[in-house]
Every structure is written in C-alpha cells, then in structure tokens.
C-alpha cells in the first residue's frame, strides 16, 4: 500500500527522503519496470525523480552525459548518441516502453536480460551516484554487480583498462568479473536504493568499434541473451576487447577470460570464436531453454557481434 508519492525538486531532497524512509521508499523514474505488475517493488513511499531535471543529454569532452531520466526513445533520436548505443536501445522493441522507460531506471533495474546494459559496459560507461557532498562515478559494471551482490560474495578490487571492477567468485562464467553468487536475486531491486543521476559514455578512441546483438524467440519476447562487444582495431589485431553478456546469470557479465584470450591478436575464425565464447558461459537449463542451447547461442551471437563491429561503418562507438 503506497502511503505517499513524493516529488522532490532537488537531488538532495530525494536522497533525504530515501534516508528518511529507508527500505520503505523507492525511487521512481519512468515506471515501466517499477510499476509493472511483476515488479518486486512495493514501497510505501515513492520518490519521483521527475522533478530533478535529469533528462538532458550533453556532450562534454567528447563524451556523452546522459541524464538518468532521459527516455530511451529520446536517446535513440538524439543525433549525438553513438550508433552502437542507439542500436542497443532500439533492441527494446516496444516504442510505448521506449517512450516511457529511462536510461537510469533501466540500469537501476539491473535486469539479467537487459538489452542496454551490455552495450553500456562495452562502451566503458559510468554512472554518476550523488552523495551528501560530492557525486561519485562508478562503472556500470561495478554498479550492477554491487547492486546485486549479496554479502556472501567475495569481491576483489582490480584495476583494468576499462576501469575498476569487481571479481566474481561464482561459476556463471570463468573469469567473470561479476558478483554471481548463488541466491543472488535477479529482481530489479538494486537501483531503487541507489540513485543514479547520470550515465556517462566516454569519448571513444577513433579506432574503437562496438556492436550488439541478442537472441529472442519472437519480436517482443524478453531477450534470452543480450550481448555487446567493443574493441580497438589496429592493423589486423584487436585490442582491449570487452564482451558483455546478459542472460547467462543473475545480471550481465563480462567474459574477461575470453577478452584476455583475444587481446592483441587477430580475431579468430567465427567457429573458433563461438566455441571459445560458449566455453566461457555456464548458464543453467530452464524450462524455456537448455543450457546447451544458451551456451551455443552465446557463442553465435557474440561472434556475430564481433563481425558486425568490424564491418565498415558497422559499429563505431
């Protein structure tokens, strides 16, 4: 039962409300996930973010600063949006939903089958989290793993070329940098406790390319798998590849062992690459898809994304 709908005018007011009501309150952005009937959010206090004026898109130092309240459709329509990010957002098929859903709400929901988070990870995007005095930035990867982490997961901080990440000790993917301990909820709960104000997509190297792909059984079905890759191409070699995969665990994961294996080398033939990727994921069978099928498709869709990224003008970041 909702007692109150709060409409703070400032970020600090929003945070104050959250501090005041703690777990009885949740932030509300577009509402496509939070208000849906299968949402696990049942707060007594909604804290609407609509009054925070966080829907702008700005270019700064060549990077894109996207207000957390920017609807996905506006992100698609903005000419400054990098093509791979536009393509990833467009994978959310329903225009009705894209008109409502916000990028911040989408990241905060941290859905395991997110169509957008893999690309944000591939583009080294960060989220801005407001604090009492200063805002801090964390990578999207760190945000989603922290948000979904239960206390049982051991996390090791390690600096990489892509930013600060946490290392997973569970078995969803060898070398996975995520928190995937068993029992972790896949419910869209994390972000409602942690306010995102902006998503920052850094300017990418001129030679850096990215592409996404997904597997779904029908046009509007939830993605069974959602992937994004990015890489820097020098001569015939690929460098600093990022491979983000949704649908093989409780949240989107990075396939770091595959990334390391591919770094600094020519892209292997499609079949070999697909087999490598398949080995890197350890999904479990569900009544809707067997593990063998998901593993196979992960290889297929990741290798297709690499091909897409490497096509001329195919996936500039």
């Amino acid at each position: 039962m909702v007692e109150q709908f709060h409409r703070p005018a400032t970020i600090q007011d929003a945070l104050s409300l959250k501090r005041r009501f703690q777990g009885r309150a949740a932030f509300l952005a577009g509402g496509t996930l939070a208000n849906a009937k299968d949402s696990r959010l049942h707060p007594e206090h909604w804290i609407s973010l609509a009054g925070l004026k966080l829907d702008r898109i700005d270019l700064k130092h060549g990077g894109l600063i996207i207000g957390a309240l920017c609807p996905l459709q506006r992100l698609i329509e903005d000419p400054r949006t990098p093509e791979p990010l536009r393509a990833a957002a467009a994978q959310i098929v329903s225009r009705n939903v894209r008109n409502m859903a916000t990028i911040g709400g989408h990241v905060a929901a941290n859905l395991p089958y997110s169509d957008l988070i893999p690309m944000l990870i591939a583009l080294d995007a960060e989220v801005e989290l407001p604090g009492l005095r200063v805002a801090k930035r964390v990578s999207v990867m760190d945000y989603i793993t922290t948000g979904a982490t239960s206390g049982s997961t051991m996390r090791v901080r390690s600096a990489t070329k892509s930013g600060v990440m946490s290392r997973c000790t569970s078995a969803c993917a060898p070398g996975c940098t995520s928190a995937c301990a068993s029992g972790v909820s896949s419910a869209p709960t994390s972000g409602s406790n942690r306010l995102i104000t902006r998503i920052i997509v850094p300017r990418s190297d001129r030679n850096r390319v990215a592409a996404c792909g997904n597997v779904r059984e029908s046009a509007n079905a939830r993605s069974l798998l959602s992937v994004a890759v990015s890489l820097t191409l020098t001569d015939f070699d690929i460098h600093d590849p990022i491979i983000a995969v949704g649908g093989v665990g409780p949240h989107v994961v990075r396939l770091t062992s595959a990334e390391r294996a591919l770094d600094g080398k020519p892209l292997p033939p499609t079949g070999k690459l697909a087999a490598m990727i398949s080995r890197c994921v350890r999904p479990t069978s569900t009544p809707f898809a067997s593990a063998a099928y998901v593993k196979h498709q992960a290889g297929a869709v990741v290798s297709s994304a690499f091909q897409k990224a490497l096509r001329p003008k195919g996936g500039r970041g």
Binding site: A36, D38, N96, M100, E217, N220, A221
Partner: protein, 964 residues
C-alpha cells in the same frame, strides 16, 4: 493528493491516490477507450494514451506521474460523431476487427503521422511495436496508415476515395464484394461504449475466484467463515453451496457431444486454477481480501500431465465418479468403483468414453480397406507429429456482467454463443429460459475461447441469488490457466502411395489431450481428421481418435478447431511422402487433391457425433490458388542468401475447413420495413469482430436494393433477435448470412405483393430497383410509399419477414498457403520472409475484412508454429501465463512480404456464392513452414513450435533435451 492534468484539451484538477494507475483513473472519468489486456504488465498496449504527444502504456503510470502533463485519448480524435481522417482510414482498410486494441492503434498512428508525413513500413512497424492485436495480423495497418497519411495531408480527400487499395468482386452486385465501412467500425474507432466492461453500473459487485494451487486434489475441508464475515462480502460460493447440476461448458448445440462432467464447483480440483471458491464483494479489493481468508485443506493427488501419463497403466484417474447416459447406455456400465467425491458424468449419447482409463472420448472410422490400400502401395511412410498447447489470447479476457431487470436475469456477455449461455445458465439455475436475457456486447476477440461458458454461469448464479449486479473478469493469468487452449495432439500418419505419387492409403492415428474436462473432447480431435482428410482423394482411409483427460489447463475450441493440428500432420506427411517418392511436393498435391465436383465419401463417417453425409464438392478454388501461389513464390526456383549461414527454403500446404455444421446448425433472421422505407434487421448472428454484422447488413441491402445505411441491425440479443447457434464452426457467413438473405428475400416478395396492389400491376411485371424502389411498367413506388400503404388503417400491416436457415449442404472453403523461410544454420532461427495465403471463400462479401481474417489467422499460427507454447512445470503450473513470456506475435513478427489473396469462386449453396474464411486461415502455416524448413536445411520439424533450439537439435548442432 491533488494533480493538475490536461485531458483531451481540458485542464482539470483531480484528487488521486498515490498508487492509482492512470489507466484506471481515465476509465473512471469515462474515457472508455483506455483498455486493459495484460493487467499492468505493459505487454499489450491496449491502455495506450498520448502523454505529451508520445504513446505510453497508462497501466504503467501512476496518477501522480501525470501531474502537469497533457494527455490525449482516442476520444479527442473526433470532436463530434464525424470521424477523423485516421479513423476513416482504419475503417476503410479493414483493420478494425474486434476493436479492443483499435483506440491504441489510432493513437500510435496519430503520433506517427505527427512526426512523419509519409512513414516507411519500418517506421509504421515501430510505431505499433508495443501494441498487441490478435485479430488482424497487423498487415493492413500499413495500408491504413498510408491512407491516413494521404487524408491528413489532403483533408479534402473524402473517405472512400482511394479505390484500388483492396480488390473488389462481383461486378453484378452493388454492395456484396465491395469495400464498405464495417457497420460497427465508427463506434469502435471512436472508443464508444461497446464492450462488457463499459456496461458496469455504479454499485455493482465484483466476483473473484480462488483457484486451486494443485493440479489434482480433493478438497478435504474448506472454511469460508472469515471470508463471509468480511464487511462488504455479499456471497461466497463453494462446492458445498453451488447448484447440484452437472453440465459442460462447451457452447455446442444440444444435445452436446461433450460430456456433462463438471458442476459449478467440484469437491475435486483437476487443474491449477480450477475453481475452489468464489467471493462476490462490493469492491475488488474486498473480494481479494476475503479470498485470502478462505482456508482449504487438500488431499493432493498425483497430477497427470501428458497423453502418455494419462494412458499409462495404473495412471491416476481424473474422473472416477458415477457415469450416466441419457440415451445409449453401454452394456456393462459399472459404477461400483465410483468415488462420490469425483461427482458424476452424464453423457447425452455415447462418445466411446472410458473415464476410468482417462479416455474422454474416442472415435474411429474410414472408407475402403486401409490394409488393402497399404498392400497396394509401392511406398509407405509412417510419421509421428506432435503439437503443443497454445492459448487463444483474446486481447479482452473473458468477462461477464450480470444484473437483474425486475425478476429477470440479464447477462451482458462477451461471447460467441448467447443462446447456449441462456440454455446452460437457465438449466444450472433451475429457471426457465424466458427468465434469462443474454445481450452479446462487442467481443474483444473470441477465437473459440468464447464459445464456452467459462465464467458466465458463476456470475449469473451470484446475481440470481443475491439480486446484485456482478462483474466477473478474468485476469490475464486466469485467461491462460482457466480459459481455453488448443488441444495438444500426437498424430501418427501412415501414407501409402504408388510410385507415380497416387495415394493408396491414408491413416491417421490421433491422440489428444483435452485437459481436466471434456469440452469439445470428441469434436476437436475428430475435426483434425475431418478437415484434413477430405483434401486428399484416396479410396482407403482410416482414422482412430482417442482423447484423454489430464490435469493440464483446459482445452477447447480454438480457431481452426483441431484442423491446424490435423493439417500440420497430414500436409507435412504429404511433403515427406513426396520426398520419399522423389516428387515435387506441389506435383504430389496436384495429383491427389480434391477438385470441383469430387465426391467426398469420407464425409459419411465424419459427422459430429452422428452419421455424416457424403457430398460432392460444390466449389473449389484450389486449382487457381495453387497456380497463382506457385507463380508468386517462384516455386521450383532455388533462392540463395547473401549470408553464408542462412539457407532459404519454400513450402506449400493446401487447406480446407467447412462453413458451419450442416444438419446441426441453424440461424434465423427477420427484416421489417419501417415507415420511412428503411429496414430493421434482427439477426441472431454473433459478430465477434469478424464483420458478420456488416455481412448480414449487406445481404439485406443487396437483396432489397437499398443503401446499407438504410438497414439498421440489432444482433445477438436473446430477448430481441431470433435464435442462432452462435459464431463457431465457421458458420457465420453461410448460416447467419443465408438466414438474413432469406429473410430479405421473403420481405422483397411481400413488398412486391403490396406494390402490385398499390399500382394495379401484376407482380410479375414489377421489379425492385436501387434505391429502395419498386418499378412497374409505367410507374414506380418507393419503399416509403409501400410502407405507408401497408401501415395505414386500410393496409395489411407492417411488412416483415423471418427466415430460418438449416441445410444438409456443405460449402467447403479451400486455400493454398506458400511461404519462404530463411533458416540460420548457426542460430537455428527461422524467419518467415514471404507468406502468401491464397484462399477461396467463394464470393468475398467483405473483401477487406476477409483479408483481415486471413492475415490474422495466418499470423496467429505462424506464432504457434515458431514460438508460442504453454510451458508447464512438473506440477502442472503454467510458467508463462502472461503475454510477454508466452510470446504472442507482434508487428515485428509479420513476414517481410505478407500477402493474402482472395481466389473467387461462386458456391451454389452459399449466400451470393459465399463460403467461410476465418478458421481455415489457421491451417496452412505449420505444414508450409515445416516443409520450407526442410527445403532449406533438410530436417523435418515434426513437433511444433519449431523453435531455434529444436532446429539446432534437428541439425545435430546441440544435443536434444530430455529434462522437460
């Protein structure tokens, strides 16, 4: 809390609850066009509104979120009763069928045309990408938006001035075969009060059902005390206080072949979601609260979830009660082992059931000598096919609103069978039929699911005993688990043929799973044979049908009524036989198919619970359909893909259905000439969005040389209109249409007779002429003058004619479906790139609506073929009881090149040569796509749906799963 919002141009301040949905808020303010198809999942888009000019799902918005915003609903489009350009375009393009999603579609079109003057196909698809329509197949939306774009740009271009966009037929007729506005179209595009939910009066009660959490269990104890004591609760119903009457929910003509194997509530529950208790309360919230207070103790039994499990020796028995026969009690009927908790089954006549072996019904039959046919064969194949359980998913879930009118019960129903509701409800309530009135409102999609009485009787009983008006609407989850689904079947097909391709033997050995109750248990599985076998001419045919009870969600009627499963098996087997013979599949079909005039001896053993009648085919458009279709698809030309992973293949299937049930169905209509020369048509026909009302109106207008606007229609109201069996078995055009035509013909004779007296000329010298005139040799009189003459103090009285149509003649619609698929060998994904559905429905009465029926039926079954499937866990719980995870086809699932073609024939028995068109459209997709997949990659997909996982398994890429 207060919010300020501008709704359709009017700014207002509203007091709202913090968790109030915008959808509910708008409906409470009388904006009825905002609908609900998914209970707030955001997957159907029926609640679409324009928020700041963009389409959004109002079910996902809380009322405080729209504070300070501008909202538009479809009510803003037409300020008066005149329609906007977009609305007229929708009606004209034939894209308005049931109309439940139409307001949402219109808003999406408006948003699109605001930003794009001439949108591309891709942009159109994107605009409608969030809105689910089960009726239309989406294809005509592209036409509608194109028409609308022209009209928005040139507002002076009037409606009806875009000829050539839809083919027309029968130059000799004025309105038959012509594109004319659907008679209920304007009402639906305006978002007017039309559906059951729009009829609810203030002060009504709400019925909520406690469903069983177990698939198979006895109710040991049930305590409703706390629920009954909840303030605002009006009634609680359980097996202890419901009527002690056995019945079947199938809306079939009496005496039904479906067994009377249930009461309103039973002591035994037979599927998850089966009725345990109903609470009627003054608000939905109170009803839900009271439901939670009901305490139930179950004796849980082992669920039976498959045909194999049901047939197994020692399997748990679903119906172990007392069996009775009204006629034809079988010798040796033994009720000594009956368990009284299982209740009773009453059979109107024998259907070869054996419930103690879980057999709900069985039938065998055939012609010739199957063994001889197989001996004569030079090639014999035996193949097994399997179909899964799929859901009808009408956008408007089942709903009923019941109220008292004095001492009579009024049922506002979203139904295909108003008269069957009246009969069944009155019997259950123990009252006479004249105490019950059923008003069929606009139906937000039926597809067979609304042929059954799945909730009406509970609300009716609640109203009858309490006197309170009651609304009962299924949730989307209830629609999945307690409504109707397509029977899962396993079909073994044995074919024998000579080397030249001539079939010598056909055998179909079919087992079906009817679920917990036997609605349509005999007739749907039998129809799988009776609508597929007569397509192929063979002297030796045999079929064996056995239907089992189980604890899966209930099965029943679903558009096609078994024919999609039978067609899939037999047509794909024919493709496999052609392959075995080294023959082209099309050549094989041509060699064996039915022709105009073919004598169908097989019909003798294919009556529905009675002996059938052999008949010659009265019209058959298969020849031209196959010729045109093969040219369109470039049959025999191998296509190559640019993508090395993708293989292209082509497939074909021939299909048929029927036009109602000769010897069983009946339809009635009456037409009256009014004082000003216009007409009042009363038709029993039940339009569920298909265009039946338009069709019956056309019958009268054509026959009486009147404008369609001069024919007013009231249909499907049991108090007002004459009897009709209902809208099922593809009977609408043939039966209800002919009844309307015959009533008009009768009235025409009376008009001429009266005019003869007025003019003093013999009747044979008179003829009627458009508009509404009787012409003599020298002078003419208008119908208005005839009416005044007959209605005057010296006249014979108002002229009226009533007709009852029954027949023993069948008019079979035929079709040929061709498709081209692209199979990705790496991912297993199957993409239907081209789909051409060529169908012979005789004379297409409403061409644009007939095309819509075809597109809708085909896309539904493309969904069944490729991805739709109800997935149950080991306890029988449906794991995907929502539109999103069940995966209904949306606009992006439409084939890139999707064409429906009407192949004209003129059937001697159909009204103006017409035959049915809707159900047959569901019969081609599975076999055609499966054959095309084989053509592409060489694997036979013998189990639908043909998911990517199954394709990869068939290709040997991944191991098959055996854990489901």
């Amino acid at each position: 809390m207060k919010i300020k919002v501008t709704i359709n141009g009017t700014t207002c301040e509203l007091d709202v609850e913090p968790d109030e949905r915008v959808r509910d808020l708008l409906r409470q303010r009388g904006l009825l066009s905002v609908r609900n198809g998914c209970d707030g999942q955001g997957s159907c888009g029926a609640c679409s509104i324009l928020l700041e000019g963009r389409t959004v799902n109002s079910c996902l918005l809380l009322a405080p979120q729209i504070d300070g915003k501008e909202i538009r609903t479809v009510e803003h489009l037409a300020k008066t009763r005149d329609l906007s350009a977009i609305q007229t375009a929708f009606v004209e393009a034939g894209v308005v069928q049931c109309g439940y999603c139409t307001p949402a579609m219109l808003l999406a079109a408006e948003e699109l045309l605001t930003r794009e003057e001439q949108p591309s196909r891709e942009q159109i698809a994107d605009a409608f990408s969030g809105i689910f329509c089960r009726c239309t197949g989406y294809e005509q939306l592209f036409l509608a938006v194109g028409l609308a774009a022209k009209r928005v740009k040139s507002p002076t271009q009037a409606a009806g001035t875009t000829p050539g966009t839809t083919p027309e037929f029968r130059d000799d007729l004025r309105v038959i075969g012509k594109v004319k506005p659907k008679v209920d179209g304007p009402r639906l595009v305006r978002g007017d009060k039309a559906f059951v939910e729009d009829m609810v009066q203030a002060g009504s009660c709400y019925l909520k059902m406690l469903g069983s959490p177990h698939a198979h269990a006895y109710i040991k104890k049930i305590d409703t005390t706390a629920a009954e004591a909840t303030p605002g609760v009006v009634l609680v119903l359980t097996h202890r206080n419901c009527p002690d009457v056995y019945y079947n929910q199938a809306g079939q003509g009496f005496p039904e072949p479906s067994p009377y194997d249930r009461k309103m509530f039973g002591q035994k529950v037979r599927h998850i979601g089966d009725r345990v208790a109903a609470v009627v309360a003054e608000t939905p919230a109170i009803a839900r609260e009271a439901i939670l207070k009901i305490k139930v103790q179950y004796e849980v039994l082992q669920p039976v979830l498959s045909i194999e499990a049901a047939a197994a020796s020692g399997a748990p028995v679903l119906h172990n009660g007392v069996f009775e026969y009204v006629v034809g009690t079988p010798a040796g009927l033994d009720n000594s082992t009956a368990d009284p908790r299982d209740g009773k089954i009453i059979y109107q006549f024998p259907i070869h059931a054996d419930p103690r072996r879980n057999i709900a019904a069985a039938v065998t039959g055939g012609i010739g000598d199957i063994d001889q046919g197989l001996r004569e064969a030079e090639v014999v194949i035996e193949r097994d096919y399997e179909t899964s359980q799929v859901q009808c998913t009408p956008l408007e879930p089942h709903i009923v609103y019941t109220r008292m009118d004095g001492d009579r019960l009024v049922i506002h129903a979203s139904t295909q069978v108003p008269w069957h509701i009246r009969r069944i409800v009155s019997r259950i309530l123990g009252i006479s039929e004249n105490q019950v009135r059923v008003i069929k409102e606009r139906v937000g999609g039926g597809f067979g699911a609304k042929q059954d009485i799945v909730l009406e009787e509970v609300a009716a009983y609640a109203t009858w005993v309490t006197g309170r008006p009651v609304l009962y609407k299924f949730t989307r989850e209830e629609e999945f688990v307690a409504s109707r689904t397509r029977h899962p079947m396993k079909i073994k097909v044995t074919l024998g043929a000579k080397k030249d391709g001539k079939l010598t033997a056909i055998k179909m050995d079919l087992t079906a799973n009817t679920g917990p109750y036997g609605a349509h248990a005999l007739t749907v599985p039998m129809n799988a044979c009776s609508k597929s076998l007569p397509l192929l001419l063979c002297e030796n045919v045999r079929f064996v049908v056995t239907t089992y009870y189980s604890n899966i969600p209930p099965c029943g009627a679903y558009q096609g009524y078994g024919a999609p499963q039978g067609s899939y098996a037999l047509q794909l087997a024919s493709a496999e036989m052609a392959r075995e013979l080294g023959m082209d599949h099309l050549a094989f079909l041509q060699k064996n198919r039915v022709h105009d005039g073919s004598m169908l001896e097989i019909l003798r053993c294919l009556g529905e619970g009675r002996e059938g009648t052999p008949q010659a085919v009265s019209s058959c458009g298969l020849g031209p359909a196959l010729a045109q279709g093969s040219e369109m698809i470039r049959w025999g030309v191998k296509e190559e893909s640019d993508d090395p992973d993708v293989r292209i293949g082509k497939g074909v299937a021939i299909i048929q259905q029927a036009s109602g049930l000769p010897g069983i169905d009946s339809a009635n209509a009456s037409v009256t000439l009014l004082g000003d020369g216009t007409f009042m048509l009363l038709s029993g026909g039940t339009d569920m969005g298909t265009g039946l009302d338009t069709m019956t109106t056309k019958m009268v207008a054509e026959c009486l040389c009147a404008a369609m606007s001069d024919v007013a229609l009231i249909a499907a109201d049991t108090d007002v209109t004459p009897y009709d069996d209902g809208a099922y078995a593809s009977s609408g055009t043939f039966f209800s249409g002919t009844a309307a035509l015959q009533a008009a013909q009768g009235l025409r004779a009376k008009i001429i007779e009266a005019a003869s007296k007025m003019l003093g000329e013999p009747e044979e010298d008179l003829e009627i002429a458009f508009p509404s005139t009787v012409k003599g040799r020298t002078v003419s009189v208008t119908y208005a003058e005839v009416a005044r003459f007959t209605q005057s103090g010296t006249g014979s009285g108002p002229l009226s004619s009533t007709a009852c149509f029954t027949t023993d003649k069948a008019a079979f619609p035929y079709g040929a479906h061709f498709c081209q698929v692209a199979v990705n060998t790496r991912t297993g994904a199957v993409k239907v790139r081209k789909y051409y559905a060529l169908q012979d429905c005789g004379t297409p009465i409403n061409p644009e609506l007939a095309l819509g029926q075809i597109y809708g039926g085909v896309l539904k079954t493309i969904g069944h073929s490729l991805f739709e499937e109800m997935v149950l866990d080991k306890q029988g719980r449906c794991l995907n009881a929502d539109l999103l995870s069940y995966r209904v086809p949306m606009i992006h699932d439409v084939p890139e090149d999707f064409r429906a073609v009407l192949v004209e024939t003129n059937d001697p028995f159909g009204p103006y040569g017409a035959k049915s068109v809707s159900e047959i459209s569901c019969n081609g997709a599975s076999p055609a796509i499966a054959a095309a997949i084989h053509d592409a990659v060489g694997v036979w997909m013998r189990s639908w749906p043909f998911t990517a996982e199954k394709v990869l398994t068939a290709l040997g890429t991944i191991p098959g799963r055996n854990d489901r």
